[in-house]
Amino acid sequence: MSELLGIFFAAFLINNILLIRFIALCSFFGVSTKLDTSIGMSSAVIFVMTVSSAISWIAYNTVLAPLHLEFLRTAVFILTIASLVQLEELYLKKAIPALYRAMGIYLPLITTNCAILAVAFLAIDYKYNFIQSMVYSLGVSGGYSLAIILFAYVRERTALAPIPKWFQGYPIAFITAALMSLAFLGFTRMFGL
């Protein structure tokens, strides 16, 4: 149990996917201008990342590893994740329209996000078992949500702040992200991880 907690917090804070590993930065800057879009994106990431890391773990360990076809994992993961998200979208549209509308455009958008593929790869590189890889993907997606929602709060304030013209928009966003990244470095070595 303590091992699972360790995996979760390492992924959630210490190796935060956005602020420490610098993966998925496109969505980090793209949809963080407003709080509600960043919440929509976060929910889509949590949903898609958990499901896709489960399915890619199964695909890797039941199909690719026994046949010694590990080199095919990029192609296979992309194929499985893309089809799966399509399937989820179809299902949500029919069964839970409210959730479908809440996630909206972010569900297909996040499918091609590098963070999703990175988590599938990393879980295999760390040689996690199924439960561990599920906890890991929850930790990563939780860390993503934490970082992007905090960032959206800051950006909503900076949008109104009297910032010099040449720093408005993306420049100040990058500076903000760098400062947040520095703050997250403070979590290094926490809990002895």
Binding site: A59, V63, L64, L67, H68, L69, L72, A75, V76, L79, T80, S83, Q86, L87, L90, Y91, K93, K94, A95, P97
Partner: protein, 262 residues
């Protein structure tokens, strides 16, 4: 060789399985879409310009079908599209529908403009405006570099004598030129109203007389001629476009500097 065959088989099989699954799911989880949405979407211009406020033409169709947007909401399609949507929705086009176009509130062509200095900077209105108005004596008028002309997605603006001219047939009142003009001399007005103040100068009349032959001098003759429509505020005549049905023409003939145009 074995590994070669195996990888083809695995990828092919996975692709086949997922394709079959998706095909089945698409059939099984089919959601009935309101046929009105499809019909409306087929009529719309499909420019996805966003001038209606919806996220693209399909979203506009969905929201019209739900009754969230009025049927004349598509500014590009105009009255024609509004009527077609009305026939699908079973609603009449409101009689107070008026086509809107962009109007230029400056009448000074290049030869009318008095210059205080020669501008040799970047040939853009936005650049000239920041550099003391490109040396122009008038602090309100058209700079003539055609930022509006460049930004118009419908080719509706042409530059004639250094002044933008709007083609009312092509203009869709999308508002891109309004945002592009650094001097804010373009606005969206009802097309069939029949009068536009071709001046934006808030300088006192005596000063306008010295620098521009076609500027508004704030003489209030138009206000006396048709008081329902014209009002002089800050040395500049403004038109109240809500006064529909009042003929603004008498003031056009009386304006001493001819700065009211049709």
């Amino acid at each position: 060789m074995m590994i070669f065959l195996a990888s083809i088989m695995v990828l092919g099989l996975l692709g086949f399985v997922f394709a079959a699954l998706l095909g089945m799911a698409a059939d099984h989880f089919r959601v009935e879409v309101d046929p009105k949405v499809e019909a409306i979407a087929a009529i719309l211009p499909g420019a996805n310009c966003g001038a209606c406020g919806a996220a693209g033409c399909y979203n506009f169709a969905e929201r019209v079908a739900l009754g969230e947007i009025v049927i004349s909401g598509c500014v590009v399609g105009g009255k024609e599209v509004a009527e077609k949507i009305g026939s699908i929705m079973g609603v009449e086009v409101p009689s107070d529908y008026h086509k809107k176009i962009a109007a230029v509130h400056c009448g000074a062509t290049t030869k009318d403009r008095k210059k205080l200095a020669r501008y040799e900077g970047v040939a853009k209105c936005s650049a000239a405006h920041q550099l003391r108005g490109g040396g122009l004596a008038c602090g309100f008028g058209c700079l003539g570099f055609g930022d509006c002309f460049c930004v118009c997605p419908f080719d509706a603006i042409s530059m004639e004598g250094g002044l933008p001219k709007v083609d009312p047939d092509k203009c869709t009142s999308c508002g891109k030129c309004v945002a592009a003009c650094p001097r804010r001399i373009i606005s969206i007005v009802p097309h069939d109203f029949g009068a536009v103040i071709a001046c934006s100068s808030k300088d006192p009349g005596a000063m306008v007389r010295k620098i521009c032959p076609v500027g508004c001098i704030g003489c209030k003759i138009c206000e006396k001629a048709v008081p329902e429509v014209y009002k002089v505020v800050d040395n500049l005549a403004v038109i109240d476009y809500s006064a529909q049905g009042v003929d603004p023409a008498p003031a056009i003939a009386k304006c001493p500097t001819k700065c009211i145009v049709k």
